[in-house]
């Protein structure tokens, strides 16, 4: 009889630079805790990109096939994925392939001390609902952990990576990469790790608005964020996008200017400490989740506000 599965696997993704992605490594402390309660081990799995034709594309099925083949010989109890874009594509396919119970959008994963059963805390409706659940059968479990729920730093201790080769699938063969353009790293402060974020949206109207937003962020020692509209219009790069398809931020202070507050945007900032919203529209949805609201024009309010803050700092 197969031994009752109790190991916890952590999928470690390889970044474009060839190194393990840090966000994935940050799942390891949680994985260790769960594994201890299950009397199992933690294994870090990485998939090598070894197929010439698909190099760089990462056809998710090819990665998922490699992972699920590994489960045939050593079935884990839990496979954890970090909520990166790439991992989010692979996890569902792995779950389908190995007939696992799937837990997406997890903000917390731990296990009962007595039974070793894993408990998943998932959010939905943009954070309005939290569900705590467990898997009731002996099925393997696949979970995706949201980036903001991970430890702040990857563990310092060395990690042993179990390498498996990417598995060529018929589907993967039919996709070809034509070209790729890396998104350039900037020296600017990243909103996801900043203590203060000042963000702009449609109401920033363009680069002039973002110049003011940058000035305010600079004065507060913070980073610049943006809504989808501002990114789509090309006023600021995608690195600054806050929301469901961008970064999730939890700064101590979040100031937003001219952002109406779609559900997607609110998902990305609802865990922020104090929220200050400046918007001309008195019915802006973002006001629902704001501590301080200024109904007015950001172009008129930001210059004196920057002056006042300068004064206060002296």
């Amino acid at each position: 009889m197969r031994k009752k599965p109790a190991d916890v696997w952590v999928y470690i993704e390889e970044g474009q630079d060839g190194f393990p992605r840090e966000l994935c490594l940050r799942m390891i402390p949680a994985a260790r805790q769960i594994a201890r309660k299950k009397h199992g081990k933690v294994r870090c799995i990485t998939v090598d990109r070894n197929i010439e034709e698909t190099k760089g594309i990462g056809q998710p099925a090819a990665y998922a096939a490699a992972i699920s083949r590994l489960t045939m010989t050593q079935l884990p109890a839990v496979i954890l994925f970090a909520g990166t874009l790439h991992s989010q594509e692979i996890a569902p396919i792995v779950a389908e392939m190995i007939d696992a119970a799937f837990f997406g959008n997890c903000v917390k994963v731990n296990a009962y001390t007595r039974t070793g059963q894993t408990v998943y805390q998932q959010i939905s409706f943009g954070g309005a609902v939290t569900v705590r659940s467990v898997c009731g059968s002996g099925q393997p479990e696949v979970a995706v952990i949201r980036p903001e729920a991970l430890e702040d730093q990857a563990p310092e201790m060395p990690v042993c990576l179990l390498h498996v080769g990417e598995e060529q699938t018929e589907e993967a063969k039919r996709v070809k990469l034509i070209r790729m353009q890396p998104v350039e790293e900037t020296a600017e402060m990243k909103p996801e790790s900043a203590d203060v974020v000042v963000a702009g949206g449609r109401g920033a109207e363009g680069e002039r608005g973002f110049a003011l937003i940058r000035a305010l962020a600079g004065e507060l020692g913070g980073a610049v964020g943006a809504s989808r509209v501002a990114v789509d219009k090309g006023w600021i790069s995608k690195d600054h996008l806050i929301g469901q398809s961008g970064k999730t931020v939890s700064p101590r202070l979040y100031i937003n200017c001219g952002i109406s507050g779609s559900v997607q945007h609110i998902t990305g900032m609802r865990t922020a400490g104090t929220v200050i919203s400046i918007n001309k529209d008195p019915r802006a949805l973002i006001f629902n989740v704001s501590d301080y609201i200024v109904v007015g024009d950001m172009f008129k309010i930001l210059p004196p506000l920057i002056r006042e803050i300068k004064k206060a700092k002296q």
């Binding site: 790439h86 594509e89 997406g104 200024v294 109904v295």
Partner: protein
């Protein structure tokens, strides 16, 4: 060229999500709309139809009976036909169940028309559940190539599809063979509005319904994963806020700076 667009009906706003007295979601009285990411998928399909001849767009949704409103919206925008999968037996499907039902429905529609869909367009994720499960899993179940988070796509003269997609730290240009499944994250296209004739056509349309028997026939339905919910909690997202309504921007800025100072935010 035949395109299938999968759309989901979702609650419209953060408002009214929460029933304070009974401590649960007020799903029935929440305004509903088409999932915005699915709308991007739909816009991309309509864009292909605008630029190419002989494109037929089918729209598919799964949900309660009133989910036909999102299909009517899609018809009003210029799609050709719509189907709704609706059956009390399928209520409360988990993500696996939804994928199996959609896979079955796609096969069924392809059987009826003796022709596979060249392209299946989905939204990257829904704004309610938001797990981004369905599109990649559907591609896997159908055994078709998949590209996630596509921003724009264009059929080439060589009968392939050229795609631009975003990844964690790069933008990629890909080419894929048909048939394939693509999930969309946004479109650069301006928002489309339905024409008057489109609205009339959609109003008149009777949307055919597929039930569990149509899709699964005698095949056993896949069992849902046995997930046991231990607790559900609802958070009021709404905060008690201080509003500054001062008309004079100088004074408003001063008041805000003062509040920030007192809150030790400066």
């Amino acid at each position: 060229m035949r395109i299938l667009v999968c759309v989901k009906q979702v609650p419209d706003t953060l408002d009214a999500v929460f029933d304070e007295e009974r401590g649960r979601l007020k799903r029935t009285c929440m305004p509903k709309t088409m999932n915005p990411y699915d709308r991007c998928a739909l816009d991309a399909a309509l864009e292909i139809k605008d630029k190419n001849e002989n494109v037929k767009i089918t729209v598919l949704s799964m949900g309660p009976k009133d989910a036909d409103t999102v299909l009517k919206d899609a018809l009003a925008l210029g799609t050709d036909e719509a189907f709704l999968i609706s059956d009390p037996q399928l209520e409360g499907s988990d993500v696996h169940g939804t994928v199996m039902t959609l896979t079955g429905a796609v096969r069924k529609l392809e059987d009826i028309q003796h022709d596979p869909f060249d392209l299946i367009c989905c939204g990257e994720r829904s704004v309610d559940g938001g797990t981004a499960y369905v599109a990649p899993a559907l591609a896997y179940r159908l055994g078709r190539p998949f590209a996630a988070r596509v921003m724009s796509c264009d059929p080439t003269d060589q009968g392939r599809l050229e795609l631009v997609r975003e990844d964690e730290d790069c933008v990629q240009w890909l080419e894929t063979a048909f048939p394939c499944v693509v999930s969309f994250t946004k479109s650069d296209q301006p928002v489309r509005y339905p024409s008057v004739s489109g609205i009339i056509k959609a109003e008149m349309a009777r949307i055919p319904r597929l039930n569990a028997d149509d899709i699964y026939g005698t095949m056993p339905k896949r069992e849902a994963a046995s997930v046991i919910i231990r607790s559900i909690s609802y958070h009021r997202l709404k905060k008690k806020s201080r509003i500054i309504r001062e008309k004079d921007p100088e004074k408003a800025a001063f008041m805000l700076a003062d509040l920030m100072r007192r809150g030790h935010l400066i």
